[in-house]
Symmetry: C2
Subunit: 500 residues, 2 copies
């Protein structure tokens, strides 16, 4: 019996999956293990494998097989049909932008990244501006080509790469609801919190102790150390594939929680990947359903669970054991207040869960204007300051606090930012549904039991892989259409009701 076109496609994607895993390991190693002086050699290896991956994915054979499989789609089961759809989606995305454009963009981004660092250091935006112009111009070309291929407006086409099935109309509706309520809620929360004394946490918490605590918590969560690793890197990330998944964090010896929470964020990503349907693990339908859902899972674990009273009840004795600490500042109430402090920070990555979305809206508004040419790069710093003044009431005074705080635009990542805020919105919506269906979840978390939480997530979300469109998956899992309502209710009850 000869293989069907669909079966041949599965074979091709098995090979692509192996390439993806190899590429992922090369990136992990570059950030965690590689000697400092080896970047050039690694760059050549990554470029060679990425080029080959692109060539395999866009080969004429693939489109012929896709067309032949499509003609026989009636003979396929529903997971196979969804898989075929995702195969075509990957191929269409890959072929929409010529390799020459992608590699020009990669080179421009490498230059822009260097000048972004120099501009931050010297507090001088003009060092970065011409390189951002160059990147932006190439991103515009890419967005136009992607938009043509996907029949979407340019910015929506970029968003579609990260959050398939979500467009600016969805984002605008959610951001409108959030921006109507959040500024007032933030003021109210800060006012309420000012009435509570918070004792400062001082001391040195060695990397090895922080790692010991982090590993114990990750094991409780369910991270499989026999098929995964935890390491350190400058920025936390998750790489690898199911079967060999690798998360990193960074430890600050002055901060006993930062490394743990960073690791929990990444563990959230890892648990999502690990929850995919096992029999589809090397196929497109067996992958995550985009960055917004990825972020929903990392923020759910880091922000919503990781800063909950229930989780802190489990964590507190572990903290006391690993750090050998005691005293009034290590009492439950003080730590809870420390972990849930709302602040008007100028920095996105330091923001609390209440003000986080405002930082994203700032970036969303500005990157749309940049892409459409309605905002010139030279006017970006002033537009940034004006936006911060309007949203937070203060203007940044240094480059590192301003539009130079994130690397995304230097790297050509436009359309990525909204997925952070969408992730938080989705996390809250899933959490509300999970909480309603598992009334004992707080008691379980307080005992360090995560099985029910991840059981629910697997059954209602992870296990669908990329089978359903994002909005349909969320509606099915939560019983509600995607909206900001759950996040607003969650923030209201956590920050503006009585203390736990």
């Amino acid at each position: 019996m000869t293989a069907t076109p669909y079966q041949l496609l599965e074979q091709e994607w098995r090979r692509l999956h192996a390439f993806r895993g190899a590429l992922s390991l090369l990136r992990w190693d570059a950030a965690v293990m590689m000697p400092r002086g080896s970047a050039e050699v690694r760059g050549e290896q990554l470029a060679a494998l990425e080029t080959e991956y692109h060539a395999l994915l866009t080969a004429p054979k693939i489109i012929r097989l896709l067309d032949r499989a499509q003609a026989n789609v009636r003979g396929l089961e529903d997971w196979q049909v969804a898989n075929l759809r995702e195969m075509r989606r990957q191929r269409d995305h890959a072929i929409a932008t010529p390799v020459s454009l992608i590699s020009r963009l990669a080179r421009a981004a490498a230059r822009a990244e260097n000048h972004w660092m120099a501009a931050r250091r010297d507090n001088d935006f003009s060092l970065f501006a011409p390189h951002l112009e160059e990147v932006l111009s190439l991103v515009r070309d890419k967005a136009a080509l992607l938009g043509q291929a996907l029949n979407l407006p340019p910015y929506d086409a970029l968003v579609d790469e990260f959050s398939p099935g979500i467009g600016t109309a969805d984002i605008d509706a959610i951001f409108k609801a959030l921006s109507r309520r959040l500024p007032g809620m933030i003021s109210e929360a800060i006012e309420a919190q000012q009435k509570e004394a918070v004792l400062p946490i001082a001391g040195k918490f060695s990397t090895s102790k922080q790692r010991g605590l982090t590993v114990e918590v990750m094991k409780a969560v369910g991270f499989p150390f026999e098929q995964g690793r935890l390491d350190e890197s400058e920025h936390p990330f998750t790489e690898g594939v199911v079967g060999d998944i690798r998360v990193t964090t960074r430890y600050d010896v002055a901060d006993p929680f930062d490394g743990l929470l960073g690791a929990l964020h990444e563990t959230g990503h890892a648990m999502y990947d690990l929850g995919m349907p096992a029999s589809w693990r090397d196929q497109p339908v067996g992958r995550d359903r985009g960055i917004a859902l990825e972020e929903s899972q990392s923020l759910l674990l880091e922000m919503i669970i990781g800063r909950s009273a229930a989780f802190l009840r489990y964590l507190l004795p572990l903290v006391q054991k690993h750090y050998a600490v005691s005293g009034p500042e290590w009492e439950f109430d003080n730590l809870y207040r420390t972990l849930t402090r709302v602040r008007r920070s100028l920095i996105r990555v330091e923001a609390d869960e209440m003000s986080y979305s405002l930082h994203i809206m700032q970036r969303y508004d500005i990157e749309k204007q940049l892409l459409a040419g309605r905002l010139a790069v030279r006017n970006l710093p002033e537009a940034w300051s004006a936006g911060m003044e309007q949203r937070f009431g203060t203007r940044p005074s240094t480059a590192a606090d301003s539009c130079l705080q994130d690397m995304h635009w230097a790297l050509g990542s436009f359309g990525y930012f909204p997925s952070y805020a969408l992730g938080l919105v989705i996390a809250a919506q899933l959490w509300e549904a999970l909480h309603a269906q598992l009334p004992e979840v707080d008691e379980q978390l307080a005992r360090g039991e995560f099985a029910a939480v991840f059981g629910w997530l697997r059954e209602n979300m992870h296990g669908y892989g990329a089978k359903l469109p994002v909005k349909e998956l969320i509606k099915q899992a939560s019983g509600q259409p995607l909206s900001a309502n759950s996040l607003l209710r969650y923030l209201q009850s956590k920050y503006l009701a009585e203390a736990p």
Copy 2:
């Protein structure tokens, strides 16, 4: 101006070089970092990349370009001509054996390796025998096909993969010279050494202290830690490419020297790779000239330099500093005697430099008989015992001490063993020439100065890459044709003359 066929070939090999580097990193990670449960996923990644590498190397385009470049060979410089020859050699080796045979051999070897371990554990050769039969039969097919393609007898074709340009005639001549002299020399050396008291070295030497010592010595040797790493693994090895080269060793807390000498062995490999001509580093002519020369460089550093009196003068204060030891057993004479003890061991990897070659001859004789079908697998244990009795005067009593001590045959590596003994012969021959041309080398080594040694090696050997055939390179570097004479002179003067 369009690229010439030769230039296009260089481009293709730049890509293959990047693939090789990626494959090497995947193997390094599997042995050093990978979680225990991730072997299956890694196997898929390695297989996918190896298959693609083979496909790129044997594509019809390559042979067309090779033929066209060959037709214009008069326009090329001598390094380019040599590069073209090595390209064709790689391609001819790759295409001589069909992918299906290689992958059947890989699967049979994986099974045989498992049963080899079980047979060692249970001291029962019959558990391994049928799997060795299967591997041997596939190796015979491979040797026949390679022999046809290269116009060589089957066993010589296998040797040619590891030691290009060396055949059984060369090996036989060298082994004949060695076997005539070594048994008598060994008896004489053991008798002489029995007159010297050797105080035993006792104590626990922590891994971190051993690593500290090893790193300091490797830095003195010239290993570039800014573009390389030292790690631990079950068996020491060298992986990576120039620009990111990675060696491993293993530490035994009861043995203060084993981890260091293992690392020196691997550093010898690394220094050879690092000595290749820089402008050819991603081309076939810019690579090592086969396993025999690789082993010559590792054994030169581990055995000849690493166990020399001059080196020990440099090492002794470092040992005392890192291990914080003193006492009569740590005096120079006692350590020198410890490091140069000659023994009639049954185990190859424990053998000293005097008896090492006898272990190789044992394997060489037997594997030729196995391949030719003159020795049946079921009779291998008896043939092994008879050979050991003849060479060392004793018979092994357990499987782990017998023909089951090495993994090579289980993995299908026939024709590999001779390169170890050739390596030692070549190392001694180069050392003799180097020593004659650099009369101050002992004083330099005693001061921990390695620059002159590696300067000579680069100028006379490393820097030629794969440009010259092995025998021509050795003759040019040493002024003598390849022979066992230097090794015999070296062993005579080190073990049978006065103590230093």
